[in-house]
Symmetry: C2
Subunit: 152 residues, 2 copies
DNA sequence: GTTGAGTCTGTAGTCAGGTACGGAAGTAAG
DNA sequence: CTTACTTCCGTACCTGACTACAGACTCAAC
């Protein structure tokens, strides 16, 4: 099949596949002289593999590591990657739960507030919440990490 | 105080403050002719406010919205923003918990596996996991969103 | 009065994971 | 055989939240 068909079957854009090729996650099949590259079931399987790994939270870099272990004979190393990712995910959950409970509390206080001139949320943002928040830098993802990382 | 002192007190870099100024989140105080800008407690308070809001998961764009409501007299709008963010956060938690349980299960199966030539994790990535994963595009953050978003 | 640190301003680079585009060449349908 | 779609390839752009740097200027200490 052509790259367009492959993309359709994998449910992704042609450009995404090309991007994976550039990153070395997907092989670039031989091109017949002055012709067009053709892809087989293996290429599709690989795209599925990548998608699945991403779905579990692995970055493309990590997917690359997993692909090196793709033959299934390095169970320990694979498990180590998965365990590490599991810790990652759990750390993020802890961070998000902190957000959740604080937000929930704030919203609740806001609902019960009788003074419409002094919103409890704004008040908290001005007074309580900024203690020891120095390390919540970068973007949302890293923010979560930073909130819970042991080594900065 | 100068911007360097302000940065130190807020626990952030000078460049970050300048970035916030460019984004219109922090005011640029008047500069005396051929002199240097000075900042006061209000500037510091604003930086704390921004940090706190970020800690709750608000993006800088959303922080901008919150800052418009900073006088505390628009309790309903503020609460609406917080409720929306709370939903956001809960959606992300749901996504992460899916990852967590799948990873946990995979790691467990890997530990109990007796066939070191056929790693259950790799096997799953090849066969099970890629059903209906079409919408887990973009980066990790959006991936989480996509997994749980109702409106794509 | 000179040295070194801090400030100002503008612009460019970083990361991840793509997305978009332009121009040339190949391919499929009528 | 023409028209319209794909493919190929390289490069540039996108988001978000910074981070870095160059060159000119100012300020405080010695």
């Amino acid at each position: 099949m052509t790259i367009g068909t492959l993309a359709k079957m994998a449910g992704m854009h042609v450009e995404t596949i090309r991007y994976y090729q550039r990153r070395g996650l997907v092989a670039l099949p031989e091109k017949p002289y002055g012709g067009i590259r053709r892809y087989d079931e293996n290429a599709l399987a690989r795209l599925h593999f990548i998608r699945s790994a991403q779905w579990l939270g692995f970055s493309l870099e990590e997917v690359g590591e997993l692909l090196k272990l793709e033959d299934g004979t390095h169970c320990d190393e694979t498990r180590a990657l998965a365990e590490h990712k599991l810790e990652d995910v759990r750390r993020k959950i802890v961070g998000l739960k902190q957000m959740e409970s604080t937000l929930d509390d704030l919203v609740e206080r806001c609902r019960c507030s009788t003074d419409p001139q002094n919103c409890p949320i704004i008040h908290s943002l001005h007074t309580d919440l900024h203690q020891d928040r120095r390390s919540c830098a970068n973007n949302n993802r890293d923010q979560l990490d930073a909130r819970t990382d042991t080594q900065p």
